[in-house]
């Protein structure tokens, strides 16, 4: 029955193209709907960029980078402290998260025995990747500040918390990069007498490096925009100078944007938009670098 129906169907298909083919009114309506959904996403992004640009472009001068925030003269203050603070925090994050993340990924991918414990660790990492960032902020508040007594709003604490957030991403990305290296490379190295560690260090990791770098940069770009955990560890104060060291009180660009956004004075809106533009520019740079590296260094096996 079905075969006969199918044969009949194919035979009369040209005749029925008007009602059921890809040019039918329903199909066209469907396609138009799909286009609308895409257009909405693009329009939203465009609206966001355009409004930020319009509001902030007049404040986008050297002042933003060289001046510190001023409560009394909002139109003259800058975001220098926040920009430098963010650099301190992200630097700390990178220093902590990259070695730990790569090490953990290498262990899980190359050396871990296939047992229950390893499964638990893997499930755990997948879960951690989706925990809301504010929960990590609570962790930082409770453990680093209240239990360990580290100073509030220090780049060290901010870096620690952001490193915890970025760690699962780096682990997952590194594992995928290592998985992508073909077994023939490893087998060849083993065949000439290298030990497992030598195969890893001299052959696998260098080949996995582009993937690791791309993923790490994207993970750090994500950390750059994180606000909630930094607010919880104390970067909500009105700090007007960059940190003198890793334990000095600091602010960061996203938290500064939040503080400005929360302020009702009009003078702050254009400055907030300018700050947002700077943040977006940094993110664009980092993501662009990651995409560029991916195109240039990726090898197709």
């Amino acid at each position: 029955m079905v075969t006969i129906g199918a044969m009949v169907g194919t035979a009369v298909r040209p005749l029925r193209a008007g009602r059921h083919g890809d040019r039918s009114p329903a199909s066209i309506a469907f396609l138009v709907l799909l286009w609308i959904t895409l257009l909405f996403a693009i329009a939203a992004l465009a609206a966001l960029l355009i409004t930020s640009f319009i509001d902030g472009v007049d404040r986008l001068d050297g002042n933003l980078f060289t001046q510190y925030t001023s409560q009394l003269f909002p139109d003259r203050g800058g975001a220098r402290a926040a920009i430098l603070g963010s650099l301190w925090v992200i630097g700390t994050t990178a220093l902590l998260a990259i070695p730990l993340g790569v090490a953990a990924a290498v262990y899980l991918e190359e050396f871990a025995p296939k047992n229950r414990w390893t499964d638990v660790i893997e499930v755990n990492i997948n879960n951690l990747a989706a925990v809301p960032s504010i929960v990590f902020g609570l962790l930082g508040l409770a453990v680093f500040i209240q239990t360990f007594g580290l100073p509030r709003s220090a780049p060290l604490v901010g870096g620690l918390v952001l490193a915890l957030i970025t760690l699962p991403t780096i682990i997952i990305v590194t594992r995928n990069a290592i998985k992508a290296v073909p077994p023939s490379i490893r087998e060849a190295a083993l065949g000439v007498g290298a030990s497992k560690h030598q195969v890893l260090l001299h052959h696998v990791l260098p080949l996995a490096l582009p993937g690791i770098m791309t993923g790490t940069i994207i993970g750090l770009a994500h950390a750059l925009g994180e606000t909630a955990p930094l607010l919880l560890i104390g970067m909500n104060a009105f700090i007007t100078s960059p940190p003198a060291g890793i334990l000095d009180a600091s602010t960061a660009l996203p938290t500064q944007i939040y503080i400005w956004a929360d302020s009702p004075e009009r003078g702050f809106v254009s400055r907030t938009s300018a700050g947002i533009l700077v943040l977006l520019a940094f993110l664009l740079l980092m993501n662009g670098l990651a995409i560029f590296l991916r195109q240039r260094l990726e090898r197709r096996w």
Binding site: A41, T51, G193, I257
Partner: protein, 311 residues
Amino acid sequence: MAGPRVGRPDRPTSVSRQSSRNGERIAMLGLRGAALLSIAITVGIVVALLGPALEFFRQVPVMDFLSGTRWAPRFSNPTYGVLPLVTGTAWTTVIALLLAIPFGLGAAVYLSEYAPTGVRKVLKPVLELLAGVPSVVYGFFALTFIAPDVLKGLLGIQVGTFSVLAAGIALGIMIIPTVASLSEDAMSAVPMALRQGSFALGANKMRTTLRVVFPAAISGIAASVVLGLSRAVGETMIVALVAGTQARMVTGATQPGQTMTGFIAQTATGESTPGTIAFDSLYAVGLLLFVLTLIANIISIRLVRRFREAY
């Protein structure tokens, strides 16, 4: 290791010196330690939240917390019913999903079934860009554009500065890429053979997409929705800026309200002193948040595993 130099299958006889083996053992310990760190983090989260939360629950019975409808920590007779915060989170999340599911799925269907390669090359980065915008930027966008210009100006909806509607819309835009990319992965994983069989039977593209590809990818699509839900529940900055700071039972989209995350952000940056019950309530709400998102994430991971295994 003494004994005859017999090569073992996974560790061939090494020509390197003995010392490199010792270094390797230390390296192994370091690597294993790094992996175990992830477990330490999860344990750390649970313990860090549990301590003060239990302290809180010693003074406020759990049932009162979970079923109370008034959140008033600063009053002389403080009540700690968490339901107002839960309604705030629920309203923003539902509005966000109402936006993200149709638009995210539509984008995913288009990208996976209809888009020519050139268009795909442009659209995928656009979606990745949307995903990369920090949430504080979305929050400010909601505050300065969505609420005054789109809602009040364009659509004529009377909202105040704060509303769960504006927050929900910004939240929805933010999770469109999450829903879209995971759904698109799921739909691309459906083998061509299924589509070709459908075409061979005379179905057009729309019918094939809706009746064959969609149902085949349903567990991945469900996973993307659940993941989007988890992200919406856990998001802080958008709701902190735009949903409002009054913890009240939200009954309409145009009302302001406070979400669980917004409450945590507000209290932690406010004047409460650590150690007081008002501050400990922070951890109780945080624990509830962690548990809710954990459940959502576990469901999502199970669904992803199911769709990845099916093919």
